[in-house]
Symmetry: D2
Subunit: 300 residues, 4 copies
């Protein structure tokens, strides 16, 4: 069943697919036919829907970010926790088989104690300026994924962040108060250092790499090419470009994310991506903005 | 709409998905709601269905092999040709983006005139002996895909084949009159040589590689790993295994195959995989069996 | 001809190889048979030898660092400049064919204007503590190579550095006042950001990678494996380890460095690695130490 | 000490390097200062020098082929065997670390019993026609290396060969009675099949790959690029060409070959490349020529 809190587009899609459309949020949340709800609306509606869903007792999937306001996030998460609902946050990249294999190598102890994590995350093209104006900027709309990845891979909280950014791609991004190129150095509770670099425009496609370096070795996820063919001539070798964007690149992770949510909604256990995982990237992202403004490392 | 010429399994799947099930072949072939038919039944029913479909005037997709009997294939294809129906044969690997990029490098002239083609095609596990007993053996049930690939990549007919095989995987395969390991050397009309190697069992997964070598360069498709993560330790680097089998490996090619068929059924033009492409691999496969039996190169 | 300013070891090697050994520095510097001198002694003797060599008018190769004292470096370089001698500094990695191809892609404009540079540089094992006590620490004895690489690849001076380090490998390194794990974020004059990460111990071998990211694309040098063989089994793929250390990894760059020096000594032109290239990594390295001590970004 | 059985060129090189030049073969073979001799002259002088060296009792290294005449080879090897001299044949590729790792995976049992071996061996450019006229043609001057590799990797003798060739590169090669493109299918004593493909001209550089496929897995050596840098743009990825020819590609194998010979000459043990290894490639190469002429598989 679908309830459309936004502009109505999904209602039409749902209708065409034969999915029932709820007349009101209440109808959906009170339906006995439904075990779980997924909040996939625009960011400013998340908190209200989350609180409403928490009251229904259903398992909840909520897209990230929960909100751009940390106090609001805390309140919403407290409400969910008090109600005892199952909650999974939409950090889909945790389900990417390659990034997950990096995390697994860490968790299995193959790399020994961690010393450094490197994350490159570069979009193929910047979003519209209108989006940037309400998104909270690069550290909240883009780096938040990488901050989550750093916590996921290391299993350790971030305690300090230093961020440096630049406007290299498009002056309009700077005029909107945002950055399009950024580097973050973060220190984790366990002493590990993580470096993230971001760009809003990688001419060669969607660049997503994670690397964990520890006392016993290193694990890294690389970019899958669009296909594996290579042409060799006297001028060298030539291979395919990268998949253009997140739908192609992260298709498997989306499928695995929803499988994980279905299992969790049904069987419980620890949340695949817990409430605290929804809060931390916002807290670190806000600290990154402060670091840029004050030109100094900021404690989280 | 579905008509189930086989054991009825697909009827149940269709019902569950809400796809209408035809009570008879005639109902399906006479339905005005249907523009095109896809023959995806077991091999021994192909010719009958093909002839029936040809009479209906609908566009036809037919899985390979059309039949294991060359005379029967010729008769069926003549009937289709006489009726003027559009026909596409199910050689899905032609739509694999990597293999296709190899073909495109040849067709674009990037490699100059072709000298050699190398094809490795190894299944992760042998089929049941019961299948082998009716499949026509390795050259008809497995190598046929590679023979088609050789014709696709070179754009030139095969005029001679020499085949050598062995039973290395399972003696039961030999007892069923088949081989499980094979090497074919083929000569094309334009003088290019193609080497195919096959195995019914690659312990490391589904191995599918195509390589074209010409006067100006070389193009090769490589196996995509299950994921891109690599772990480096003092013992070297460790990467993921290959996707296990054809559904994972060739998912994109199946999607692209059906897109091509839909376009062709609607808009005509040359068949993406024409009638002659359905016949040639059978003719060459039969010649390969003769080559093994007579221990000599055989003209096609 | 060899003059041994150090402990005498090289004198014995030279003798064994039939290379004449000078009885004094003066004999060597006054010899008409000699066109060029190479200063490859321990760091604290560089400045004295450099000044002496400058007076001789011969072309000079000097190992880095020139000195750990910036004022001393400036004085020595002024003397050389005043004398008009040809001077090449020993930053051999500039001659590595892979790193150089990254630089060439930048210089040729293939990547458009640069946004980000990433450099990973990790040694297989830490040096002796006795070395660390006199080396100036990680930023001067190790990162200096990467600082040079950042200037080489971007062609732009470094104007700001923020450094974060940790002792993760060996507490004895910390007790000697040094770090063994470090991340530097640097801003170049042209606005490009460079991130360097260092470790004194990579369990999997000598890890040396350079990556330049710009508006039109990205270029990266990767680690060559010790050999190219891969083994695939049901457990995945297994490849060789990396070459252990700098002699294996950078053999081609050493050969090319000396070819460049011979050409330069004979034919003049711009120095392959000029005096200013010897000074800048020291200035930036000292700023990195200050950044760590004061926990803030430092202007250079 | 050098004795120049050929045109005198090496005499001048030796003189320039300060290596003593023997006035006669006898002077060299009778010198007490010499423990081992290396026969690196043109093929038609090998047998005479081998027999002479055998009489001297010194350890012998002999370049391949020993001779193009099988009877002559047998006589020479009998003489050496009777004299008890240590003999190593110059198949340097056995010492290539990547090919050797493939062999080691076989020998260690990692791949289980072997089913298939694939060898690609393609030169960057054909030799002069004058060389082809005396070399014995492609199967003796080029494929012989790959025949040796097949025996080395499998550890099993070749019992049957089928060869197909073509003139695709240069008609002058055909006029000289030779082929420039060839495919061989060989059967080993243990049932394994080996496929070799050769070309006298690979436009993209020196292509040398070995692949062993067995019941438990697969091992393959790949071509090392000239350097590891890759450039990614919207048009895809671009990497370096292959090393041009055997001196660059096989430098490590030559060094390891001579180290192995020095150890063997000093310490004995089984020959790193024994007399039988010098004979077999000639026998198989001659059978390949017969296979082409008679268009049938030929037993060895």
């Amino acid at each position: 069943m679908v309830y459309d809190a936004d502009v109505g587009a999904s209602k039409h899609v749902a209708g065409a697919l034969g999915v029932p459309v709820a007349a009101s949020l209440g109808e959906l949340l009170n339906s006995d036919a439904i075990d779980a709800v997924a909040i996939c609306t625009s960011t400013d509606t998340h908190v209200g829907l989350l609180v409403a869903a928490a009251a229904s007792g259903k398992a909840i999937f909520c897209e990230k970010p929960i909100s751009l306001d940390l106090a609001e996030v805390d309140q919403a998460l407290d409400t969910v926790a008090a109600g005892g609902s199952r909650l999974q946050i939409g950090f889909n990249r945790r389900f990417d088989p390659a990034h997950r294999a990096v995390r697994d190598a860490v968790a299995a102890g193959t790399l020994g104690s961690l010393h450094l994590v490197r994350i490159s995350s570069r979009d193929p093209a910047p979003p519209p300026i209108a989006y940037i104006e309400v998104s909270g900027g690069i550290f909240l709309d883009m780096t938040s994924h990488d901050i989550d990845m750093a916590r996921f891979v290391t299993g350790s909280e971030i305690v300090e962040v230093y961020a440096r950014g630049a406007v290299r791609v498009d002056p309009a991004i700077g005029e909107a108060g945002d950055l399009d190129t950024a580097v973050l150095t973060m220190r984790h509770e366990d002493g590990c250092l993580t470096v993230i670099d971001n760009s809003r425009r990688a001419a060669y496609g969607y660049d997503q790499r994670v690397e964990a370096f520890g006392e016993e070795g290193m694990a890294m996820s690389q970019n899958p090419p669009a296909h594996t063919a290579t042409v060799l001539t006297a001028r060298g070798s030539h291979g395919s470009a990268l998949p253009h964007f997140f739908v192609e690149r992260y298709l498997p992770s989306y499928i695995l994310q929803w499988e994980a949510f279905c299992n969790y909604a049904r069987s419980g256990g620890p949340s695949p991506v817990a409430a605290a995982d929804g809060r931390a990237p916002l807290a670190v992202g806000l600290a990154a903005w402060r670091s840029v403004r004050e030109s100094r490392p900021v404690e989280v």
